[in-house]
């Protein structure tokens, strides 16, 4: 009986403290993103004040040492590399998911999934290293030095493909088995079932995967830094060297002073804005569909 008396008074306190502590931790975790945004804003403020937003677009080129601050070539490079990467990676990723869910025998499917997870775990510098030593000389045959929009796009596609593959794979495996069986019982062949029943049913999961992959592509730094060449100008061909927003920050942070540095924070803010918008839109879409 004494045991139960103790249980009544003590846990009440311990439980309360537990709740307080854990809720506080959760708030701290949530606050970090606000901290990041705050500091980005603080550091970019000087650029907004002295240079002004319009000049990021209207200046004729990017030459910070000569007071030219046009970010358009870098924005274009980011858009092209990410967009191109997604165009390659999305079909390949869905193909991989379809393969492991519907076409491969169970043991091969398990190995394939492990392989894709392995690919997902390779650090971006290692991709960059491989691309630099192997891919770039190969692409040099097409013209230019090999370090180009094309090189960066291809390797970026390789890097984000696993994201699409793994999300699509779990989306496809969540399609209720009755739907698949229903299609089979009607005498539908495998590809018809996949294309007309499974993929449409898994559509929202697949879309989420593609959006995550796009966000990753936009934010990727090291691989594009090593492979895209280093020229902050608009690309004239697919083999032109370019510089993305992320590479721009990485290359110039080291020696940037005051205004210049502040401008790099502006591009950081831009990246953060694009990526956050993507995440929030994805959540909005997902929320609506469930209702």
């Amino acid at each position: 009986m004494t045991l139960s008396c103790r249980n009544i008074s003590f846990p009440f306190n311990a439980d309360r403290w537990l709740t307080r502590l854990t809720r506080l931790s959760a708030c701290v975790s949530a606050a970090i993103v606000l901290l990041v945004i705050t500091f980005l804003l603080l550091e970019s403020w000087p650029a907004f004040r002295t240079i002004g937003v319009s000049r990021f677009i209207t200046d004729e080129s990017w030459h910070p040492l000569s007071d030219r601050f046009c970010l358009v070539p870098m924005i274009t490079a980011t858009a092209l590399t990410s967009g191109g990467a997604v165009i390659f990676a999305a079909p390949l990723g869905v193909c991989s998911a379809v393969f492991s869910q519907f076409y491969a025998p169970p043991r091969i499917a398990a190995w394939h999934r492990r392989l894709v997870e392995l690919l997902a775990g390779i650090p971006s510098v290692v991709f960059g290293l491989w691309g630099l030593v192997i891919l770039v000389p190969l692409l040099a045959h097409l013209g230019g030095s090999g370090q180009s929009l094309l090189a960066a796009t291809l390797v970026l596609a390789l890097m984000i493909m696993p994201t699409v593959a793994l999300t699509s794979s779990s989306a496809l495996s969540s399609v209720p088995a009755e739907l698949i069986r229903g299609g089979a019982a009607l005498g539908m062949k495998r590809w018809s079932i996949v294309w007309q029943i499974a993929i449409p049913a898994a559509r929202s999961g697949i879309n989420t995967g593609v959006m995550l992959a796009t966000a990753r592509a936009v934010g990727e730094t090291m691989a594009v830094l090593m492979l895209a060449g280093n020229v902050p100008e608009m690309p004239s061909a697919i083999v032109s060297p370019v510089r993305t927003l992320t590479a721009n920050i990485a290359l110039e942070m080291g020696y940037a002073t005051a205004e210049h540095r502040s401008l790099l924070f502006v591009s950081g803010l831009m990246l953060m804005g694009v990526v956050s918008a993507g995440v929030l839109i994805a959540e909005l879409v997902r929320g609506r569909r469930h209702v």
């Binding site: 169970p106 209720p176 299609g183 019982a185 009607l186 005498g187 062949k189 018809s192 007309q196």
Partner: protein
């Protein structure tokens, strides 16, 4: 119409059905009854080779549909499933419009012209008694239909393929009594046009609609057919004691 000879279904080391020899005459309704877990669904799945979808499944013995061995090299599995349709216990319409539910497999099996598709759609929906209820909303989602309507839709899309046989795995057990009655009377109305094999838990239902009954029971760890024959004979005069007791409601 359907004949199996010493059919056994194995899942890896487990034997679900052993040496089932079954027959049903064209146009008749055959009921398969027995307690849970005695291999009735596995038996049914073997007939239209749905067991192919389970990697560990192995079939021994022979299955003949309309004289052709279903495992012969001449028999294509997809074509088999067109001609031997299957209705599942839990209605499983596709998350698409009613129209698309019916026409998806139709298109796959060769019907292309819009007029043909629409004519068939109307015909089968009339056959299952859904036409008046859904004719104004063919393009709305099938998921909005009630359970009973969904099951009738599943039957409609199966008969749209003009099968010879319909296999039904406890088609009414997931439905409420009213919907169940509607589906049951639909099944009865299909007698003669299709050969129907229906697995059911509901002995009264078997007695009502079936022309013949096969009783499954677990013996030595696997399901076997212990009694088979015309409905009246089996229910009143079963030679097997266990079967007689089960059908009288005493056992199982």
């Amino acid at each position: 119409m359907i004949r199996t000879e010493l059919l056994s279904v194995h899942y890896g080391a487990l034997t679900a059905v052993r040496n089932a020899s079954f027959y049903v005459i064209k146009g008749k309704i055959a009921a398969i009854v027995g307690p849970s877990g005695c291999g009735k669904s596995s038996f049914l799945s073997a007939i239209n080779r749905m067991t192919d979808l389970t990697p560990a499944a192995r079939i021994t013995g022979q299955i003949f549909v309309d004289g052709t061995d279903v495992h012969s090299s001449h028999q294509d599995a997809a074509e088999l499933r067109r001609s031997v349709g299957m209705i599942f216990q839990k209605p499983n319409p596709f998350p698409m419009s009613i129209r698309r539910n019916i026409q998806l497999a139709l298109k796959e099996h060769g019907t292309r012209r819009r007029t043909d598709l629409d004519t068939t759609t109307e015909r089968v929906l009339q056959d299952v008694g859904l036409w008046d209820e859904v004719k104004d909303r063919l393009d709305s989602s099938a998921m909005e239909l009630s359970g009973g309507q969904q099951q009738r839709l599943c039957i409609a899309r199966a008969i749209a393929l003009q099968p010879q046989v319909l296999l039904m795995d406890e088609p009414c057990s997931a439905l409420d009594p009213i919907a169940s009655a509607k589906v049951e009377s639909l099944i009865e109305s299909l007698r003669g046009r299709y050969t129907i094999v229906i697995v059911t838990h509901n002995l009264a239902q078997a007695r009502r609609i079936a022309d013949q009954v096969s009783v499954f029971w677990v013996r030595d760890g696997a399901g076997e057919i212990i009694e088979q024959g015309p409905t009246m004979d089996v229910f009143s005069n079963a030679s097997n004691h266990t079967a007689a007791a089960y059908l009288a409601g005493v056992k199982g």
